[in-house]
C-alpha cells in the first residue's frame, strides 16, 4: 500500500504560516504606531507661573519705585514704552504752585502709602492747616490731580490686561530691552525649567546645541540640532524639554520671529 503521508498536505505548511505570522506582526506594529498605543515618555510638567515684576499692578504709582526721595519730582512717565506708565501725581502744575521750603506737604504723595484715603487726607489737611486758605486750595488741587492720575493708571493697567496678558501670568510684554522682560531670558528660563524634568543621558558629559526659531505665533518654527556629543538619550531629553517648554511660549515681542541658540548640558541650559 502507498503510505498516506507521502503526499503533500492540502493546507499551508509551516513556511506559509510563518509568513502569515510575520504579516500579523507588521500589521500589529502599524496599528500600535498609527494609534500611538504605546505609553508616552513625556512626563506631564506642571505649569509654571511667572510674575513679571515690571508690569505688576501696584496700589500706588510710587509704591513700586525704590526709595523715593522727598525732593524727587518725577515728570510724567515716558509714553513710548508700553510698560506700566508711572503717572506721577506731581505734575509740573502743582510743582510750580508749591511754596519752596515752608510746604513739607508737597512731598506727601510719595511718602504715604495710601494717599487717597480720606482719613489721611484729613491728616494732611491738619498738617497743612497753619498755611491758610492758599494751602487748602493747593491741597484740593493736589487731591484732584492724584485722583485723575490714579484713574488714568488704573485704566491703563486694565487696558493692558484686556489686551492679552490674561491667562499667562507674567509673560513679557516689553520690547525686550527692559529688565525682566527680555524674551531670550524668558525662553531660556522656560527651557531650563522643562529640562530639569526631562534630563537623562547615557554618556559622561553630553552636550547638545540647538537653534530655535520661534514664529510670530509663539510656536517653534524651526528646531535644529547644531551640535551634539552623540548621546541619543540626552538628545531625546533635550527634544522633550523643548517641546514641553513650547507649550508655555508666548508670542515674541513685536510680532517678529525670534531666533536663538541654546546649549544643553547636564549642568543646565545656556545661551549660545
Amino acid at each position: 500500500m502507498k503510505p498516506l503521508r507521502m503526499r503533500k498536505n492540502s493546507y499551508p505548511g509551516p513556511g506559509g504560516m510563518l509568513a502569515c505570522s510575520f504579516l500579523l506582526h507588521v500589521a500589529l506594529l502599524a496599528i500600535v504606531v498609527t494609534f500611538r498605543l504605546y505609553p508616552e515618555a513625556h512626563p506631564l510638567a506642571e505649569e509654571t507661573y511667572y510674575v513679571d515684576m515690571v508690569s505688576l499692578p501696584v496700589a500706588s504709582p510710587a509704591k513700586g519705585t525704590p526709595a523715593p526721595t522727598a525732593t524727587t519730582q518725577q515728570p510724567a512717565a515716558p509714553q513710548a514704552a508700553p510698560e506700566p506708565p508711572r503717572p506721577a501725581p506731581q505734575s509740573p502744575a502743582p510743582a510750580k504752585a508749591a511754596p519752596p521750603a515752608s510746604r513739607p506737604s508737597m512731598t506727601y504723595p510719595t511718602a504715604k502709602t495710601k494717599p487717597t484715603t480720606s482719613k489721611q487726607k484729613q491728616v494732611q489737611s491738619d498738617e497743612t492747616a497753619p498755611t491758610g486758605a492758599e494751602a487748602k486750595a493747593f491741597q484740593d488741587r493736589m487731591a484732584k490731580l492724584e485722583r485723575q492720575a490714579e484713574d488714568r493708571r488704573q485704566a491703563d493697567v486694565l487696558a493692558r490686561l484686556r489686551k492679552g496678558t490674561g491667562g499667562k501670568k507674567g509673560a513679557p510684554t516689553g520690547s525686550g530691552t527692559q529688565a525682566g522682560s527680555d524674551y531670550a531670558a524668558y525662553i531660556h528660563s522656560r527651557l531650563k525649567d522643562a529640562f530639569v524634568d526631562t534630563i537623562a543621558s547615557q554618556t559622561k558629559s553630553p552636550q547638545v546645541t540647538v537653534r530655535l526659531v520661534i514664529g510670530p505665533d509663539g510656536r517653534i518654527a524651526q528646531y535644529k540640532v547644531e551640535n551634539s556629543s552623540g548621546d541619543k538619550m540626552f538628545e531625546d531629553a533635550v527634544d522633550r524639554a523643548v517641546h514641553v517648554a513650547e507649550r508655555s511660549f508666548r508670542k515674541p515681542p513685536g510680532g517678529t520671529p525670534f531666533e536663538q541658540g541654546f546649549v544643553f548640558r547636564p549642568q543646565g541650559v545656556g545661551l549660545k
Binding site: 503526499r7 506559509g16 505570522s21 506582526h25 534630563i199 537623562a200 554618556t203
Partner: protein, 224 residues
C-alpha cells in the same frame, strides 16, 4: 517609538531576538491550529465511515478522502501489513487464514505501533519551540531590562540628578524588553498547553483504534 530608538544596542538585540521568537511562535501556533483541527475533523469522519463500511477493501479505496486523519494512516499501515500476510499465506495453503503461530497479528500490531509513533512525532513537531519560547522569552526580556536599567543608572549618575523625572524614562525604556518577552511567552505557553491536550486526545483515539483494528483482524482473519 522614541523609547525604542533611544535604547542601547544590547536591549535592541534582545528585542530583536524576542521579536523573532514571537513571529516563529505565532507561525507555529497558526500551523498547529490548522493541523490539529483538520486531524480531529478528518478522524471523526473516518471513524464514521469505518464503522459503516463492511469490507476493508472498500475502506482502503476511500482513504484519500481522509488524508489528514491519523486514524486513516493507522488503518493504511495495518491493512498494508494484513495484505502482505495474506499474500504470504496464499502461497502456502488456505488464503482465508492467518496463522498466529507465525506471528501474523504481532506483525500488524507492530505496524500499527510504528504508525502511531510516527503520527505522534508528526503532530508534536515544532511544539518544542513553543515550550522553549514560553520558558526562555521572559528571562531574555528580563536580561534586556536589567541591562537597560544598568545603563540608565550610569547615565543618571553622570547627570547628577536623582529626581523621579530623571530616573523614570530610563527605567521605562528598559522595561520594554520585559514587556515584549511576556508578549512573546504568554501565547507560546498557552498554545503549547492547548496543543498538548489536543494531541493527547488524538493519541488516545489512535490507541483505541489500533486495539479495535487488531480485534477485528483477529476475529475475521486469524486462524482459531
Amino acid at each position: 517609538m522614541g523609547m525604542l530608538a533611544s535604547t542601547g544596542l544590547v536591549v535592541k538585540l534582545v528585542l530583536g531576538i524576542l521579536l523573532y521568537f514571537s513571529v516563529v511562535s505565532w507561525g507555529i501556533i497558526f500551523y498547529k491550529l490548522l493541523q490539529v483541527y483538520r486531524a480531529n475533523s478528518a478522524s471523526q469522519h473516518f471513524l464514521e465511515f469505518f464503522w459503516k463500511a463492511k469490507r476493508f477493501d472498500a475502506i482502503a479505496t476511500q482513504l484519500d478522502r481522509f488524508e489528514n486523519s491519523p486514524l486513516a494512516v493507522l488503518f493504511n499501515e495495518g491493512y498494508g501489513e494484513l495484505k502482505k500476510l495474506q499474500e504470504k499465506v496464499v502461497e502456502k495453503s488456505d488464503p482465508s487464514v492467518i496463522s498466529t503461530d507465525l506471528g501474523g497479528i504481532d506483525n500488524i500490531a507492530r505496524a500499527l505501533r510504528r504508525a502511531t509513533t510516527s503520527e505522534i512525532t508528526r503532530l508534536e513537531k515544532y511544539l518544542t519551540f513553543l515550550a522553549t519560547t514560553g520558558s526562555t522569552a521572559p528571562f531574555i526580556g528580563l536580561f534586556g531590562t536589567v541591562w537597560g536599567i544598568m545603563t540608565a543608572f550610569q547615565g543618571i549618575g553622570q547627570a547628577g540628578s536623582a529626581s523621579l523625572a530623571t530616573v523614570a524614562p530610563g527605567i521605562a525604556e528598559a522595561l520594554i524588553a520585559t514587556a515584549i518577552g511576556l508578549v512573546a511567552a504568554i501565547p507560546a505557553v498557552m498554545g503549547y498547553n492547548h496543543f498538548q491536550q489536543k494531541i493527547k486526545v488524538l493519541i488516545s483515539e489512535m490507541d483505541s483504534f489500533s486495539t479495535e483494528l487488531l480485534n477485528i483482524v483477529q476475529r475475521n482473519f486469524a486462524g482459531r
